[in-house]
């Protein structure tokens, strides 16, 4: 026998309790990892290679206010811009759905082609989409989700616009961070809406990340003191603006995570205290045999840390395996896209469990250190 064997035998002496402790730490860790992943999903929009190049210009007053279509002529002359397209959110309900389950945008197909650098057309052809004003380009996720085919009709009931759409699928794309969207001709929207001469936003591509900030400044400056001042910002900043509309989700998730950690610490401290209390006599005997406080502390710490580490392995590993292999995008109707359990989140889960393992060892170690041998022997006699 050696000391690690001794520690292991002690840790497993009450197997049911050890198992329940490991499970409670594991489930708490899995919950913590899940919450942190959810927080990341909600507050950090997915980024793509082209995101640092793309700029969205909207009406400075509000996103709901349109911009004049004639601004295009000014924008496309601004140095550093290689592509620009109108980009108007339609927000229609597909078929008989009562909510907008994926976004539809009206774009200028010829101009838009230069903006989606990472998209690949996997069925049909972009040319078919571009030349037919009733055609649409559909994201692969939506295409698969509804079991669609090239040439199928897609009908939308307008919610923002008092018009309905009847589109024909010309092409399917994937390779973007969100392969759910649908794009159709802005001309069609203009015709159906009585040609108001407006767009929702401008989607702009800068020549390089280095000039992106200059482009933003120039676009903003170009419409200063006009009837339709714009607010240009990077795609990422634009998305984060949407996130802020969700309220203080970060704080809410942090509070719930804090509660999880607190509960986790109570469970482990209570379990370790119970495990040690019922062994006071044995610890007193070990002291009598010559074991010192630091050795007893090491026993308790190793046992507590070991159980917590096992729980962390189970919880963090389980959460990673579950969220990595589950098609959450499908299960949540596209609400969650990536739900990626990053190494950083896993490290957080493991670190919290490890700290709990150490913290849980402190009260029983303190009790044991203070206990005299004679007291320990009397207590359980």
């Amino acid at each position: 026998m050696n000391l690690p064997t001794f520690i292991l035998k002690n840790a497993l002496r009450n197997r049911r309790r050890a198992l329940l402790t490991v499970l409670s730490v594991g489930i708490s860790c899995a919950l913590l990892v899940t919450l942190l992943t959810l927080q990341r999903e909600l507050t950090v929009p997915p980024e793509s290679a082209g995101a640092s190049l793309r700029i969205i210009a909207r009406n400075k007053v509000s996103l709901a206010q349109p911009l004049p279509a004639k601004q295009l002529a000014v924008i496309e002359r601004i140095p550093g811009i290689v592509a620009v397209s109108p980009f108007t959110f339609f927000g229609g309900n597909f078929r008989d759905e009562t909510v907008t389950s994926f976004a539809q945008f009206a774009v200028d197909p010829r101009r838009f082609q230069g903006l989606l650098v990472e998209a690949r057309v996997i069925e049909g052809s972009y040319e078919d989409f571009a030349k037919d004003r009733l055609a649409c380009l559909v994201g692969a996720d939506t295409f698969e989700r509804y079991g669609l085919k090239i040439g199928d009709r897609m009908k939308f009931t307008g919610t923002f616009y008092p018009v309905d759409l009847d589109l024909k699928i010309a092409a399917v794309f994937n390779g973007t961070v969100d392969d759910r969207g649908l794009f159709f001709h802005h001309k069609l929207l203009d015709e159906l809406s009585g040609d108001p001469g407006t767009v929702g936003t401008w989607y702009i591509r800068a020549a390089s990340p280095e000039v992106a900030n200059d482009v933003i400044a120039r676009v903003n400056a170009a419409f200063e003191n006009t009837a339709a001042e714009v607010r240009a910002e990077t795609e990422r900043a634009f998305q984060l603006g949407f996130v802020s509309m969700l309220g203080n989700v970060k704080m809410l998730v942090l509070l719930i995570s804090g509660a999880v950690v607190f509960t986790l610490s109570l469970v482990t401290i209570s379990t370790m205290s119970m495990a040690i209390r019922e062994r006071f006599r044995e610890l007193a005997v070990l002291k009598a045999l010559g074991f010192q406080r630091r050795e007893l502390f090491a026993f308790i710490l190793a046992e507590s840390f070991g159980l917590a580490a096992l729980g962390a392995l189970l919880g963090v590993g389980g959460a990673w395996a579950l969220w990595t292999h589950l098609d959450l995008q499908k299960l949540t109707n596209g609400f969650l896209i990536y739900f990626e359990v990053t190494p950083r989140i896993m490290a957080w889960g493991a670190a919290v469990a490890a700290i709990m393992g150490v913290v849980a060892a402190l009260p029983p170690s303190w009790q044991t250190a203070r206990m005299s041998v004679t007291e320990g022997l009397k207590t359980l006699d």
Binding site: M1, N2, K9, L286, R293, D381
Partner: protein, 226 residues
């Protein structure tokens, strides 16, 4: 000329508080114990015999007086020094055996050796010797719950012996045993004193058990009366 005593106690007193009351457990006790003696401490409950045993063994502290064991004043040792000293010099036998239930007999005996610099093979050799000495060479792989009370106490004696201490302290070692097992245990303690020149100090209520010792000391109200 008599050899220096292995245990030399002078004017030893122990006072502790029990709520508002001060209790004198030992009052100016002075005794000498020679190497190889089997000293039996007797007396009624609360007479201070266990307290005296605990102070000699270094698991309790005196309020005043001196306790010299092999010339070392135990009272002057720090907690850490005392732990080392106990490991090297004292073997404990308790009334309720106090074996670790999740360990086998051999592992229980090996426990004190984990604190020494001995290698695994040497530790195993010592454990085998100790178990053989108490007649349990073939029970090393049994856990305490697979052994009788008498066998468990013999394992406890083997654990007390394995570090080859000069002093063996036994606190009512036969208190939880049947007559046959008690006889076995007492015979082993007697043989250790007689044949191996170990100094044994035993607390007991049982006059029959006291018959195995070379000297009996009677305590009453914290004082040695005979």
């Amino acid at each position: 000329m008599a050899a220096d005593p292995i245990v030399s106690i002078r004017d030893l007193s122990k006072v502790y508080r029990q709520g508002e009351i001060q209790v004198t457990a030992l009052n100016n006790v002075s005794i000498d114990i020679q190497t190889g003696e089997f000293v039996v401490l007797m007396g009624p409950s609360g007479s201070g015999k266990s307290t005296l045993l605990h102070i000699i063994a270094g698991i309790d502290r005196a309020s005043s007086g001196s306790v010299l064991v092999q010339g070392i004043n135990v009272a002057n040792l720090t907690e850490s020094q005392l732990a080392d000293w106990r490991n090297q010099n004292v073997g404990f036998v308790f009334q309720s055996f106090n074996l670790i239930p999740v360990l086998t007999a051999a592992e229980n005996v090996e426990l004190p050796l984990l604190l020494t610099a001995l290698g695994r093979a040497e530790r195993r050799r010592q454990v085998a010797l100790a178990l053989d000495l108490v007649g349990l060479a073939d029970r090393g792989h049994h856990r305490p719950d697979q052994m009788s009370g008498g066998q468990q106490q013999r394992v406890a004696i083997a654990r007390a012996l394995v570090t080859d201490p000069t002093l063996i302290v036994a606190d009512e070692p036969t208190g939880n045993l049947d007559a046959k097992s008690a006889t076995d245990v007492l015979s082993i303690l007697q043989a250790l004193s007689r044949d191996s020149r170990k100094t044994v100090i035993m607390v007991t209520h049982d006059p029959k058990a006291a018959g195995y010792g070379t000297r009996s000391l009677h305590l009453e109200k914290g004082e040695i009366v005979a």
